[in-house]
Symmetry: none
Subunit: 245 residues, 2 copies
DNA sequence: GGTAATGATTCCGTATTGTGCAACGAATTT
DNA sequence: AAATTCGTTGCACAATACGGAATCATTACC
């Protein structure tokens, strides 16, 4: 038993609630009970309590159970407190320590991807990049991530504003590449001698909220198999609001 | 005891969860315990179970408790079952493309009108408006729409909670105005330099289910004759469940 | 229309398990 | 350094959740 110090009945009940959330719609009691390997009577009592709390309701005709209005309210309350940017910023030192690389956090500002946070690793890197720097969409790892995860209208406006003329097919290829790899990367494109990899932090709409970028003088980090890239992707995935699997 | 046939411990625990949702942010254990008149040790064990389920988490530094990611997912699951919201959210990109403006979708949460979706258009970004933002009833276009289409009891409670003292006649005038125009609007009231128009999505009982809002830097959109306002009204009318005339 | 079958709800004795109080540890303040 | 505040954990007792079967309600089938 991997105990957490809580109540066993509560743990069971929450398992049921979680199971209910995984169903796409109303469920019968027995079906729900079978899905969590519990006797129906037990589940029924849980549901009775959930029902008085408004977390679940039952369709009057069929007697099936479904999530209730309180579940929605709870979610809205949770959504109101979610500050993905700050959570990411707080966790940035961990990533930095784990990978041994300098990490930076960028969000979409009026002028495009904008650096809002630095976390320097031990091996210092001299760079002209400072807080508030805006990154190019194509020529930077950070920009590529925003490029691949932002609405097309936003991207098109920014690309024309950047002035540089890129063939549309080239841009499309780059986007597809970032999507399939799960990260953006450059090696010396922006600053000679410097390589960078970047991954997105997504919100509940699967829209990009921020990009986290690792910088190194070693261009070997620009690889799918690099452990530091895996760490970066795991880091961002953990901070993103993920739909139940 | 007014029993509901459920488990007493579960009822207590859900009371705690509900209390937690009513706080605007992280809470200390003792504060939470006091608010529900329970011994701290009892509440602590509940929270331990909630924590393993991911419904609550505690801030690593201060040890305060707050709603966790599972609460958000539960809310998203509940939201996914609301047909009207689904249809509106799915159609939102169309409205965005049609008007060229940023559109957002709000529903009524415990804290008031809450933004649950936003669809960005090219151009500008509003960094202060994110998912989960709650809108004021008077000072926002979104809020005005809820103000004019919600039960008076709900509105009164929220207005007093907002603290601001408005003359009743002013509120009544505003409601009448929103009703006759068919949309709510502000120009720079909430965020300087930003104008917004908002229209309701109604269910079969003519109660408001959600509000759709368009925002722009051009205050000219705040007009009955503006084509984008017409598009918004048509959009919402099409999504509302209409009574046969 | 009667009967079978599926599913929701309730009953009941047992022992599992949640409860309150108080002690402990940690962290911050005076 | 002492004191205060807060989060966490033992402990003994009895309250209460558990599981299986019985009951009620509703739909399907002949």
């Amino acid at each position: 038993m991997s105990e957490g110090g809580g109540l066993q009945s509560l743990d069971s009940a929450l398992t049921v609630l979680h199971a209910m959330a995984r169903f796409p719609g109303p469920v019968t009691l027995t079906e729900l009970a079978r899905s969590v390997n519990m006797p129906a009577s037990k589940v029924h009592r849980y549901l009775a309590s959930f029902a008085t709390a408004g977390l679940v309701g039952q369709t009057s005709r069929s007697g099936k159970y479904d999530l209730g209005p309180a579940a929605l309210q709870l979610g809205l309350a949770a959504m109101a407190r979610q500050d993905i940017i700050n959570r990411t910023a707080d966790a940035l030192p961990d990533l930095c320590a784990q990978t041994g690389l300098t990490a930076l956090l960028s969000v979409w500002g009026n002028a495009g991807p904008t650096v809002v946070r630095w976390e320097r690793a031990a091996g210092f890197i001299v760079t002209t990049l400072g807080l508030g720097t805006t990154m190019p969409l194509i020529g930077s790892a950070t920009g590529q991530v925003f490029l691949a995860h932002s609405p097309v209208a936003v991207i098109k406006a920014k690309l024309t504003a950047e002035g540089a003329a890129y063939k549309d097919s080239v841009v499309q290829d780059l986007i597809a590449q970032v999507h399939s790899a799960g990260f953006g990367c450059v090696a010396g494109d922006l600053i000679p001698g410097l390589a960078a990899v970047s991954a997105p932090v997504l919100n509940s709409q699967n829209h990009i909220e921020a990009a986290v970028t690792l910088i190194s003088t070693d261009s070997a980090i620009v690889s799918k198999d690099c452990p530091q890239v895996s760490a970066l992707k795991a880091f961002c995935a953990g901070l993103s609001v993920q739909m139940p699997v």
